[in-house]
């Protein structure tokens, strides 16, 4: 339904801020949600000058348009890209210190042109261990965490992360029967996890988001993984 201003002004009558604001407020509502098809020009609606050239980054798979960013990458494609996590870099079992590190290949850096809402989607499927090394927490208390970070790993959002326990069980080592896992290996050792992290920006920013990891397990293979970003301008 076409816009109708709620207040009409007349010369010689006191002009109030409330009346002007009332018209502006009604206009804002109309422009945001009140424009109907009948209000629009039936001829050429969009001139070429109105269209913003979109951008596409073929490395990260992210495109950028007037509503924001969308896209992502995953472990498949032309080559399988297995990535990893390890206590040698992160859990540091030999020193007792801990440090989050980036999961190689899982970060985005995007130019955000204005205030925006950001959603970072991720999933991993990991083979955690087995690790029965002598140092660190007990073999059944060793975990690997994956969580998003914003900017750098000093700003890891651990509360939006997920953990996978070490595959702490051995293998059947009898000599008269076929060898195999003596406990449900894939049930504990293969961890398929995912998450979504919501963030907001208040203005233009060079924005970096990626997947961080902290592992108390010596070797963790990230067999399948995917990351995606969607931003919408406010």
């Amino acid at each position: 339904m076409a816009y109708t201003k709620p207040n009409t002004f007349a010369d010689g009558t006191a002009l109030t801020a409330a009346d002007v604001q009332g018209n502006t407020d009604a206009l804002r509502v109309y422009l945001h949600e009140g424009v109907s098809g009948a209000d629009l020009l039936a001829g050429q609606f969009v001139d070429r000058r109105h269209v913003q050239q979109p951008g596409f980054n073929s490395i990260t798979g992210v495109q950028h348009g007037v509503s924001g960013h969308q896209g992502g990458q995953w472990s498949g494609g032309s080559t399988v890209r297995v990535t990893f996590s390890t206590s040698a870099l992160t859990g540091r079992r030999y020193t007792g210190a801990q440090r989050w590190e980036q999961v190689p290949g899982t970060a985005f850096q995007v130019d955000i042109r204005g205030a925006a809402t950001v959603l970072f989607h991720w999933f991993v499927e990991v083979e955690a261990g087995p690790d029965d090394g002598s140092r660190g927490p007990g073999t059944d208390e060793r975990y690997v965490w994956f969580a998003p970070y914003i900017g750098n790993t000093g700003f890891t959002r651990a509360n939006s992360g997920q953990e996978v326990v070490n595959n702490y069980n051995g293998w059947e080592n009898g000599t008269t029967n076929a060898y195999g896992a003596d406990q449900p290996y894939t049930y504990l050792g293969y961890g398929a996890h995912n998450g979504v992290y919501l963030d907001t920006t208040t203005g233009p920013a060079r924005y970096t988001v990626g997947l961080g990891t902290l592992s108390y397990i010596e070797r963790v293979s990230v067999l399948n993984w995917g990351v995606a970003i969607e931003t919408t301008y406010d």
């Binding site: 422009l31 424009v35 209000d39 998450g195």
Partner: protein
């Protein structure tokens, strides 16, 4: 060409009521608005089907107690009788996401609510939980004319999403979101789990890991399930009318066991426990997004 091309009013210009009226009336002529009247932001790329997505509101909140490192977790007891108690993550008040500071989000058709949550969970079991009725019992040949009981281990906890559309203070009025059952009236069809996260509750296995003609001569060995990440998500779009959502929270109950009845796959209340059973829950996050899909 843009229809609204009236030059701007500069400081020091003298205007009268007509000038002001004209600026609003420019928008009142039907059938003439083009993109320049709305700004280029109203025309989107084909990356999103339809005309575009507008984010109207978003909120996010830590939920739960303790920390992500599993320190001082919340312990939730399993049900001893039906219906189960629904326990809020973090205890009352610590697992809630108030939307726009309790003002709420009013949604209508063409809009979508997107909700995401995560937390860590560790099932605790003392003894073998299965007593009569032994849901999931499997009789395995023991190699000597009898059988050994091995359970299918389909016992689970369920975390599901509730919303509050009645009480802006969030004190009362919590209810399962549309598409989600509240587990308060017997077996729950799995078609009513639109906003659920299922958490394994128990695991046992044959200690005879090697292949031996399928024979299992020894009693099963219980496997401790350790901490595991849990996630869930939910989407909702009103088909008609409008609804104001004041808050969201995640509640946990259990344990249940997968079952089947009259062509319905369902979750059965599991109350006849042979041991003790509880769930530790660590800190996580609950996030929600309100978008308009034009």
């Amino acid at each position: 060409m843009s229809r609204i091309n009236r030059p701007r009013i500069n400081a020091g210009d003298t205007i009268d009521a007509t000038d002001l009226n004209n600026r609003f009336d420019d928008y009142s002529q039907a059938g003439a608005l083009d993109v320049a009247n709305h700004g280029i932001g109203s025309v989107d790329l084909p990356q999103i089907q339809s005309n575009g997505v507008i984010t109207l509101n978003s909120d996010s909140e830590l939920i739960g107690t303790g920390s992500w490192t599993h320190s001082t977790p919340q312990n939730i007891a399993c049900m001893a009788a039906s219906p189960p108690t629904l326990t809020e993550i973090g205890g009352a008040g610590n697992g809630r996401l108030s939307l726009s500071g309790l003002a709420g989000w009013t949604m209508g058709p063409g809009e979508v609510l997107r909700v995401y949550w995560n937390f860590g969970a560790e099932p605790n079991v003392t003894g073998r939980p299965y007593a009569a009725p032994e849901y999931g019992a499997l009789a395995i040949d023991n190699g000597s004319g009898g059988s050994t009981d091995l359970n299918d281990c389909l016992a689970c906890w369920v975390a599901h999403l509730q919303w509050n559309i009645t009480d802006p203070t969030l004190a009362t009025g919590w209810a399962a979101v549309p598409g989600q059952n509240d587990f308060q009236s017997g077996p729950t069809s799995i078609t009513q789990l639109a906003a659920s996260s299922v958490i394994p509750a128990y695991l046992e296995y044959s200690p005879e890991g090697h292949a031996n003609d399928g024979v299992m001569s020894s009693a099963p060995t219980q496997k401790d399930l350790k901490w595991m990440g849990v996630t869930g998500h939910y989407f909702y779009s009103p088909s008609s009318g409008s609804v104001t959502i004041y808050g969201l929270r995640v509640v946990i109950s259990g344990i249940y066991h997968a079952g089947f009845s009259a062509s319905v796959n369902q979750l059965l209340d599991f109350t006849a426990l042979g041991g003790t059973c509880s769930l530790d829950v660590s800190q996580g996050r609950l996030s929600a997004l309100h978008q308009r899909i034009a």
